[in-house]
Amino acid sequence: MARPLDVEALPAQAPRATAATPGASTARRWWRRFARNRGAVFGLAVFLAIILMAVFAGLLAPYDPLIQGVGPANAAPTWTHWAGTDSFGRDMLSRIIYGARIALVVGLGAVLLAMVVGVALGLVAGYYGGWVDVVIMRVMDGLFAFPIIILAIAMMAVMGFGVKNVIIAVGVGFVAPFARVTRADVLAVKEEPYIEAARLAGVPGPAIIARHVLPNVLAPIIVQAALRVSGAIITESGLSFLGLGPPPPTPVWGSMIAEGRNFIVMAPHISTIPGIALMVTVVGLNLLGDGLRDALDPRLRR
């Protein structure tokens, strides 16, 4: 039976490039698709900016973020203090820059943790099926039912505060979506003939999962990861806002917003500037995630 024409109504005879396979021309194509989405490029720029800020905070920040009284308290933005000062006379701009560090560490850390645990669970549940699948997925369902912030608060109440605990708390909250997304794709990939071929060649189960299943379900996982980083950052900010984040005087955007609450009328910049930083970061990362998904998706759903 001749192969029917493919989706784009172009003859399928010439082999077509698919997403994550190496080769200079496919990478370039990928980039072209991605670059066409202006939002995604903006998101990428934001992401890179955050990384730069986090890594080179020492070089970029004009003042030490912890030293009080480098300027008058609650001063509006001026040439010496581009983002003004807070109620302790600390330079806002430096605090924003150092705050990016925490945001990034928590964002990436939590997502990495969630990814490792969630993907492992999803792989096992999807590939082996049966009661293993049922047990794992019901636990995931339970986890899903909790709003992440409540879960995080509960965990922090038990574990105590500190950056490490925030990462764990937020990470646990995100395990369920990773497990689900992974499992869904594993179920599809499991049915492909090349999996059966591996089985019939005598390849043992864990090797099949590692060599054949995992590489073929990576694409949606990466997209999930990109989309969740912003959620992790928001959750972390929320926790800090509530006072459950890293303790003061650590510069964290969430607690900075909280500190500015009392001065909203006379010195709005103390709350709004970190708020804007947070918003730009989150929107940018979301756009990046969307862009990645759009660039990868039509190729993956082959």
Binding site: A2, L5, A9, L10, P11, A12, Q13, A14, R29, R32
Partner: protein, 321 residues
């Protein structure tokens, strides 16, 4: 007698990331009343796109269709959508490979038939329902009146295809386009469906354009054959001629590839693969795979020229014998 369908210089082009690509590159042919013409080629040759272009089924953009498609005198490519919609289903019908995909799963089959006819014929519902039952009987579905109340999933592949044929011929079209109508069916069911098409064509004086990759089917169904390769026609001939004395090397090679029921030893195979749109060779498109290629074939593209009594082929070697 005037041909029912006359296609002249049909071109179907797509704008892609690599620039414009021509999937159908200057195709011309005609079909007479009651004639069954086979459009044959391997996947990627452009035969399905050709048939879709006739009815304006190609999305433009990214596609672009040019040329002339005269049906009963009118150029279909010049018509706007409402006028085309009136022709589709009524004067030109099309059936596809997968009947399951063409029938709406949530409506009863009889209702879908009535719907198809109501669009084009003015009769009342009662009359249309009776006609629907008649059509189902005519296409060989037993207990038509009862079956009309069934849903598509209750029909097997062969039966569903019969229903599609019924819907196609319900308004007595002048032309039926059948695109690989039996590729998804078993051999014995395929025989039933194809013989049905043949019978209807004869009874209704309907012309048929049968698109297929299967030379065997085409040889048993059609009066004339058009062979396509890489977007162009390479040979066109009456059925008896093309299989007895194929003129184009590709046609010959294709016939030699078929394991017939009286065979042995090695199958004739064609080395290489049909070129994709981006890699069309200079000169004759088939020459890299042709055993008889001459230096001229790599430089100059051959045009269709007479090769026999009612046979034309696009090959430099034709006409020199």
């Amino acid at each position: 007698m005037d041909p029912v369908l006359e296609v002249r210089d049909l071109v179907v082009e797509f704008t892609t990331e690599d620039g414009p690509l021509r999937a159908v590159d200057g195709v011309s042919f005609s079909i007479g009343r009651g004639e069954i013409v086979g459009l044959v080629g391997e996947s990627g040759a452009g035969k399905t796109l050709t048939s879709e272009a006739l009815l304006g089924l190609i999305r433009c953009p990214p596609g672009r269709v040019s040329g002339e498609v005269r049906f009963r005198g009118r150029n279909l490519l010049a018509l706007e959508e409402p006028a085309l919609a009136r022709i589709r289903g009524k004067e030109i019908a099309m059936i596809f490979q997968n009947p399951g995909a063409s029938l709406n799963p949530v409506f009863r089959v009889g209702d879908q038939l009535v719907e198809a006819m109501a669009l084009h014929l003015g009769d009342g519902r009662g009359a249309l329902r009776r006609r629907a039952a008649e059509i189902l009987t005519r296409v060989g579905i037993p207990s038509a009146a009862t079956r009309a109340r069934d849903y598509p999933h209750q029909f097997s592949g062969g039966m569903a295809q019969r229903v599609m044929i019924g819907m196609g011929v319900a308004c007595a079209p002048g032309l039926l386009i059948a695109d690989e109508p039996t590729t998804a069916l078993d051999v014995t069911i395929q025989a039933q469906v194809l013989s049905l098409i043949r019978r209807l064509a004869r009874e209704m004086g309907m012309a048929v354009l049968l698109v297929s990759h299967d030379l065997g089917i085409v040889s048993q169904m059609c009066h004339r054959v058009i062979v396509m390769y890489a977007g162009r026609i390479v040979e066109e001939a009456a059925i008896a001629t093309v299989f007895r004395a194929p003129a184009h090397p590709y046609t010959r090679a294709l016939i030699a590839c078929l394991p017939g029921l009286d065979d042995g030893g090695r199958l004739g195979a064609i080395r290489g693969v049909m070129p994709g749109l981006k890699a069309v060779p200079r000169g004759c498109r088939f020459h890299p795979r042709c055993n008889l290629a001459e230096p001229r074939c790599a430089v100059e593209e051959p045009v269709l020229r007479p090769a026999g009594a009612d046979q034309i082929a696009a090959c430099h070697l034709v006409g020199t014998e």
